[in-house]
Every structure is written in C-alpha cells, then in structure tokens.
C-alpha cells in the first residue's frame, strides 16, 4: 500500500554507529512508544486469529468449556445445514450485484463532481450526505420508502406506469432493495474516486486534446488508467464490506424466525450472529467466521494477483 513511503524510510541514512548500550537504550525508548500497539496486536489480533482456528474445531456453548470435535462443525456446515448455503448464497448474490453497481455509480458521480461547475461544493456535500446516515436510521428510512403498499418508491413507479414491487416483503426483490440502500450511501467510494480524479494532471488531457482525442477517448486512454489504483482499492474494500453486510439485513429482515421473506435477507453475517449471540454456539460460529475469512482472503489475493495486468502505477513507470 505504501511501498513508496516504506522505501523512503529505509533509504534514510542511519545515524552513525554508537555503542551497544546506547543503541539498546534507544531501542527501548522506541518500544515504549509502540508498546500499546504491540499489546493490541497480540491481544486483539494475533491471539483471536489463532484462537478462532481452535474454537472452530470445538463444541463451545460459552457456559461450558469447549469440547474438541475436530472437523465436525465444518461437516455439519457444508453438508447438513441448508441455511448455511442459503446465507452464503444471499451474501454472494448481494456482493455480486452491489459491488459493480456501487463502483460504477460512485465513479460517475465523482466525474460529475470533478467538473468546474457553479455550486459544485454544495453538490458534493449533498451526494455525500447519505453515507453519514447512521445505518439503523438509514435502514428504517428505506423500509418506509420501500413499503410495498404505498411507499414513496412504489408511488413513483406507478406514477410512471410501472408495476409496484414487493421490495423487502418479496423474496425476489429484497436483496435488490438492500442494494438500492447501498447505492444511496456509496458516497465514501465517490470521495476516494474524486480525490484520484483531482490528481489526474491537466497537461495529459491537453496533450490528448491536441492529438485530436474526443472526450470519450480521453476518458478511456487518460482518466481510466490513472484511476485504476483507486478502483483497485475501492474494489477490495467494497467486496470485503459487502460480504460482511449485517445491520441493514438484520433490521430489514425483522425479528421473526425467517430473516426476510423465505430467508432472502439471511446474510452470512446475520446467520453467524444468530449462532454466536442468540444460540451461543461459539464453535460453529467460529467455523463460519473462519470460512468467510479464508474466502475473503482468497478473493483479495486473486484481485491483487490480477492487479498487475490492469492497475497502472505511475511510480512504476518512472
């Protein structure tokens, strides 16, 4: 991520050789500063990561000590728990639908905001505003807007002659409804794109214009390649975020036995939450968490591996 700054640090000249005792003392002083973080890494990252491997192979109800069961949790999960696959399917469906749409819309909005139009600061604030909404408040608002009977969205649909949809009350439309919410709140992706667009040098556009490139060609040949690092970053972040979508699905899914109609809002995280904090089956929930973790790491690695062919780093060119 910051290979550049890392390299800069490494290349800075080291202070001249000093006695071992002074070096020891200097090291000690350095460790004093980063000590809280070392503790945090050990206690809140390293230990839980290792422990989750162990817990995932136990039957653990919190009240009684964990009982070793080997791969039993994974076996049940993959072969005997239809809701597990339902939740995995729902989250994958949601991710596949929302990530591309979010990225495209955020990019289009960012490009609109990158123009030198009057009042652009106000527009930027307005486009960004929805992402400030606390997720609980935002979800309640969208449940109101998407009400199947006389919600505002359905009123708008029937106003233009389209049929009203069931949205969160229909198993087919509940996930697109969540995607709609995500699109409304994709302002943070937009801001990251906007920052990258501001870094595209004007001179490159001028050079392309002199060569006779129209605005569409300039977008493909100049803007887009320079944006690939931020597309790469936003892609990874939104995949990880979408796979772990939780609060919206939990709230919109309701408190009944089924999460949304026919469990269509039973996202992976909702299912995991139920096992861990409602049924207190920590072993099974750990196994679920571990699988999701490995899947996300694998997806990230695939994106990183392929990034060499489509992400353009300016620093590499120099």
């Amino acid at each position: 991520m910051t290979t550049e700054s890392l390299a800069r640090d490494l290349s800075r000249e080291r202070p001249p050789r000093v006695s071992l005792r002074r070096r020891l003392r200097r090291n000690l002083r350095g460790y004093v500063f980063v000590l809280p973080w070392i503790i945090s890494l050990l206690v809140f990252t390293a230990y839980p990561m290792l422990a989750s491997f162990y817990f995932s192979m136990t039957d653990y109800s919190v009240l009684k000590p964990p009982v070793w069961t080997g791969l039993q949790n994974f076996k049940v999960m993959f072969t005997q728990d239809p809701l597990y696959w339902k939740s995995a399917y729902n989250s994958a469906y949601y991710t596949l639908l929302s990530v591309p749409l979010q990225l495209v819309i955020a990019l289009v909005l960012a490009m609109m905001l990158n123009r030198k139009a009057r009042g652009i600061g106000i527009y930027r604030t307005i486009y960004y505003l929805p992402s400030l909404m606390p997720v609980v408040a935002g979800t309640l608002l969208w449940m109101l807007l998407l009400n199947p009977r006389d919600g505002l969205i359905n009123e708008a649909l029937s106003f233009v002659g389209l049929p009203k949809l069931g949205w969160l009350q229909s198993s087919a439309w509940s996930k697109p409804a969540l995607v709609l919410m995500a699109l409304w709140g994709s302002g943070w992706l937009m801001l990251i794109f906007l920052a990258a667009l501001k870094d595209v040098p004007e001179s490159l556009h001028e050079a392309a214009m002199i060569d006779g490139a129209n605005s569409w060609q300039r977008f493909w040949a100049v803007t887009l390649p320079l944006l690939t690092p931020s597309i790469f970053f936003n892609l990874i972040m939104s995949i990880i975020g979408s796979f772990q979508v939780f609060a919206q699905a939990l709230i919109a899914g309701g408190t009944g036995n089924s999460s949304g109609p026919l469990n269509s809002l039973l996202m992976y995280m909702v299912q995991l939450y139920r096992y861990a904090f409602l049924y207190f089956e920590m072993g099974y929930a750990s196994a679920m968490a571990l699988v999701l973790f490995l899947v996300l790491v694998a997806i990230t690695l695939v994106v990183v591996k392929t990034s060499g062919s489509w992400v353009y780093y300016e620093s590499a060119r120099r």
Binding site: N27, V34, Y127, P134, V136, L191, I192, L194, F246, A289
Partner: protein, 294 residues
C-alpha cells in the same frame, strides 16, 4: 448546410459557439441538480413523515405536506419510555468521547514511534500494521468476545472503549503519514536543548499535528456514534444503550409508528450531520487519505 468561410459569418459562428456553451452549462447544472434531488428526496421524506399524523404516513397519492404539522411527534418520540433520548444521548457521548480520547492518545504515541524513533523490527512491525488494515474483522470477532466475557466485561462499555487506548491500525497509519511531513529540524532542536522523547512528543509534535488529530478525532467520533454491531453484542441492559441501539430497540417494539420512528431517526442522525458541516474539511481529508497512494 453548406460551410462558408466568409468573414461575415464569423459573428454568427461565435454566437452559435456561445449558445452551445451556455447550453452545455445548463445541461450540466440540470444533471447535477437532478441527481441532488434524487439523493435529497429520502431525507425530505424523513422530515415530512416525522411531522405527519400516523394515518397520513401511507397514502396514495403521497401527501407532501402534513396536515396538521405534528411537532408533538418529536415530544412523543423523544419522551417515550421506549426511546429515552437524553439517557441514550448521554450513553452515546460517554462511548464516543472516551473512545476518541483513547484513539487519539494511543494513535499519536504509536505513530510517533513509527515516524521518529528507531528500533529493531520497526519496518516489519509497520508492514504488519498495514496488513491488519486489510484483515476482515470477522476472524477475530468471536475469540475477542470470549476474551471480554472471560474478563467479565460483557454488559459494559469496556470492550468498546478499552481497545481504543491500545491503538488501531488505520489511525496509526494516518497519523504516521502526517508525522513524517514534520521537518526533523523542529524536533532535533528541542533534543539538543535536552528535551526527552516524551517531552518532544507532547510539547512539540502534538501541537504541530493538530489538523491530523482533528481528522482522526472526527472520523472516530462518527464511527463510534454510528457503531451498531459493537453495542449490539456487548451491551445487555437497555438503560446502557447508545442512540443507534435505542433506535433499533424502539423499532422492534413500535415498528408501525413510522412518524415517531422517523422523528427518532432524525434525532439520531442530526448531530452527526451537524458535525459533518462543521468539520467537513477534516472529514473529507481523512476519507481521501484512506484511498490515496493506494
């Protein structure tokens, strides 16, 4: 149409070009404004609904002006025993303020260590720090919960606040980047005068990086204000809930009183939107830094 190069046509050509420019500016503004309306209508509907009597919430065609305007909805929602606003606000501020103090203190201290100190394994440690930023939090969730349960902290704010005092990767990274931009001469001079590292850090570095501290503070303020998952799993008593949890509890109990629910939602969202307007510059700076140099 036939193209001519007679000078008399030059004025017409110029006029046409001007017209086209005005037209394109007009279209640009139209598109920008149309999208803005699309983004704002939900907010508008939130406010309108919060002021309606309950029987006007769902009507066909939609009713845009409440009749009468029910200001009392706010009194009813915020005074309702199911949504004790001021108690929830107090809990939220307790969480937000303590967590932000923790994040600032630990973040600055550790970032100073990374930016200014020398110790064995520093680069490895920093690389690990960066990689944890990408780590999906899901894998640490359950063992961390079990750890806090073992400590007897479940049912209190300790699991939400104590970790903040030990630093978080993103804030450390952000502050370190700022610290690196401070010229060495400034801190070296103080060292020559005999100031220790802690004094240099506290009396020279901290005042210099105030804007960076503001960025981190504002981002953490917003994050904790909106945090739903942490309070959901760690808090057990409704009298200890922060605002967002209070709103969730209100919805599960009074899910059909849309007008009151929207009034409560606005009350939860309003302070954070207000903060955004005051701290917009710092906030956007922080967000863009996240993706910068990606």
């Amino acid at each position: 149409m036939q193209r001519t190069h007679v000078p008399a046509n030059l004025a017409a050509l110029r006029r046409r070009r001007r017209l086209r420019r005005i037209l394109s500016i007009g279209i640009e503004q139209l598109v920008l404004a149309a999208v803005a309306v699309l983004f704002l209508i939900p907010f508008l509907w939130l406010i309108i609904t919060s002021l309606k009597p309950i029987d006007q919430v769902f009507t066909s065609p939609p009713q845009w002006i409440p009749e009468p305007v029910m200001w009392s909805n706010y009194v009813d929602a915020l005074g309702s025993p199911a949504f004790p606003f001021f108690l929830l606000l107090r809990n939220t501020l307790f969480y937000v303020v303590l967590s932000t103090i923790g994040v600032l203190l630990s973040g600055a201290l550790v970032a100073y260590g990374f930016a200014r100190m020398d110790f064995w394994g520093k680069d490895t440690l920093f690389a690990i720090t960066l990689s944890t930023m990408m780590l999906p939090g899901i894998v640490t969730l359950i063992p961390t919960y079990i750890l806090f349960r073992w400590l007897g902290w479940v049912g209190s704010y300790a699991p939400l606040i104590v970790p903040a005092f030990f630093g978080s990767a993103f804030n450390i990274f952000l502050l370190r980047q700022f610290f690196l931009t401070i010229p060495w001469e400034l801190t070296d001079a103080a060292k020559v005068d005999g100031a220790g590292d802690l004094r240099v850090f506290w009396q020279i570095m901290m005042p210099l990086v105030k804007p960076a501290l503001l960025v981190v503070g504002v981002l953490n303020f917003m994050y904790t204000w909106n945090d739903f998952f942490g309070p959901l799993i760690y808090l057990t008593k409704s009298s200890e809930y922060p605002l967002v949890m209070g709103l969730y509890a209100f919805q599960t109990q009074h899910g059909i009183q849309w007008n009151l629910m929207m009034a409560a939602s606005l009350a939860v969202a309003f302070p954070i939107i207000l903060l955004f307007f005051f701290a917009q510059r710092y906030f956007i700076e922080g967000i863009t830094l996240t993706g910068l140099k990606g």
